[in-house]
């Protein structure tokens, strides 16, 4: 059933300028005309708009604004990112499900996406606000066979660059807070949680979790994050189609990831630096004690270079930074 609908959407999409007749759809999918008609009705129910013209056939004219597997797929222009999309209306955490699928052997590029997470989490299991239908919450399984675990850390900056580039295409001007938070002004628009299972020299899999605020008004956020978070809607004043944003991010990520595997971190670093948040500014770093430091740059391996008040330079791979 699902499979036929997926094929139907692909057929309609590949003919989007043209009409395609019911008979041709029936032949191509090897199902009856009435089965086609049934699928069409279901697509309309989830928000598609179809034009049907006698003697010409069907044409898709609008994809729904709400997330569904079909809508996510319709227009997804990637080679492997999202080749399998596991859409669930409500989940505890897409990250947890992606881990389960990965352990069962799910392939590189598999996506788990939900309209709502009841237990959405960031790092250290911190709360991630994921209200039904208002943002993108998805986790992607990556299996970079040519990458050693010690070089995999830069994936987090690769993902940040991809999201930043995707958002710029949707006219949202963002900055990247080292290493990978997406900010507009001093407010968080998107976060990335990357978890890896690896042996000494071999990455088993990486789960790249992305949470992006789309259409939240200020009061849609939990009070605990209202002063820290923003959404595309709050930035641009316009509701966005989350399916489109997903597709842009998917395509950008695929490109940046392949660039990274092919050419290393060098070219990613150059792009990252264009988006750097608070570079050359003073921030507070919390290690065992609090200390002030000036952000200098990122290194060739993605680590953060800072200078303390005595003028000594430090390299940070992980640190609690009070921005």
């Amino acid at each position: 059933m699902e499979d036929k609908r997926k094929q139907l959407i692909e057929l309609l999409f590949s003919n989007k300028e043209d009409y395609i007749s019911g008979q041709e759809l029936s032949n191509r999918l090897n199902i009856s005309r009435s089965a086609i008609w049934k699928h069409m009705n279901e697509l309309k129910n989830v928000g598609y708009e179809m034009e049907a013209v006698t003697n010409k056939g069907y044409r898709i004219i609008k994809v729904p604004n709400t997330i569904s597997e079909q809508a996510l797929r319709w227009g997804l222009d990637t080679n492997w990112f999202g080749n399998l999309i596991n859409y669930k209306p409500t989940v505890g955490s897409t990250q947890t499900i992606a881990h389960e699928l990965a352990r069962e052997g799910a392939s590189h590029g598999t996506v788990v996406i939900a309209n709502e997470q009841t237990m959405g989490r960031g790092r250290l299991k911190r709360y991630w606000d994921s209200t039904f239908g208002l943002g993108l919450w998805f986790s992607t399984i990556l299996r970079p066979s040519s990458l050693e675990p010690k070089n995999a850390t830069q994936i987090t900056l690769v993902a940040a660059v991809a999201i930043a580039r995707a958002l710029v295409k949707h006219e949202v001007d963002v900055k990247i807070k080292w290493p990978n938070d997406i900010f507009v002004g001093d407010l968080k628009l998107a976060g990335i949680l990357t978890e890896m299972q690896a042996e000494q020299h071999l990455v088993d899999y990486i789960i790249l979790g992305i949470g992006l605020n789309g259409n939240q008004g200020i009061n849609d956020f939990h009070p605990s994050v209202q002063e820290k978070a923003t959404s595309i809607y709050q930035v641009t004043g316009e509701q966005v189609n989350l399916n489109h944003i997903f597709q842009t991010i998917s395509k950008e990520f695929e490109q940046m990831y392949e660039l990274f595997l092919e050419k290393g971190f060098g070219p990613i670093k150059l792009i990252w630096e264009n988006y750097a948040y608070k570079m050359d500014e003073w921030i507070t770093i919390k290690t065992n004690e609090l200390w002030e430091a000036k952000l200098l740059s990122i290194q060739n391996d993605g680590a953060l270079r800072v200078k303390d008040e005595q003028g000594t330079e430090h390299t940070l791979y992980s640190a609690e930074i009070l921005w």
Partner: protein
């Protein structure tokens, strides 16, 4: 030229032997040892164009009285700890990357692993994080954790041992 360790071994060997005098020459440098009663005395190599003698040898030379007792006591200690370590563990779980060691998924949660815990190869023993990439480290071996070598929140290097395991 001989290494400090090799000289130490020589001292010990000669000390335990009936040899009263010993000279070793190579590359224009000479090591001579002569027993004076119960003591082994070692003289530093003659100055040559070769690199300077390592510091510890000179120290030993400046306090010849201690030469007989100190190295053997030290070696006994080492032997003891070697012996106890070799019975204590078979495998070390090492860090696959540079990063921060976390003993638990969150500060509120109990540690994944404590000394005495039994682990399977798939058991998660800790997290190492760098640049917000969280790596759940698995034991990769069946056995008992006998020693935890790092503190929560500590920066660890690539390949640094984190746990010692006695295999099943």
């Amino acid at each position: 030229m001989l290494k400090v360790q090799e000289i130490r071994e020589l001292i010990k060997l000669i000390d335990d032997s009936s040899i009263s005098e010993f000279t070793y020459e190579a590359d224009g440098a000479t090591v001579s040892m002569k027993k004076q009663g119960e003591q082994v005395v070692q003289t530093a190599p003659k100055p040559t164009e070769q690199p300077v003698t390592p510091q510890p040898v000179e120290q030993e030379q400046s306090v010849p009285e201690k030469v007989t007792t100190e190295p053997s006591a030290k070696e006994e200690e080492e032997n003891q700890s070697n012996a106890s370590m070799s019975t204590d563990y078979d495998t070390e779980i090492t860090s696959p990357m540079v990063g921060t060691f976390y003993e638990a998924p969150t500060p509120e949660d109990p540690a994944y692993i404590q000394v005495g815990d039994q682990v399977k190869s798939q058991s998660v023993v800790c997290i190492v994080e760098a640049m917000k990439l969280f790596n759940e480290i698995e034991a990769e071996v069946d056995g008992e954790i006998v020693e935890i070598l790092v503190q929560n929140g500590e920066l660890v290097e690539y390949g640094q041992p984190l746990f010692r395991v006695k295999n099943k």
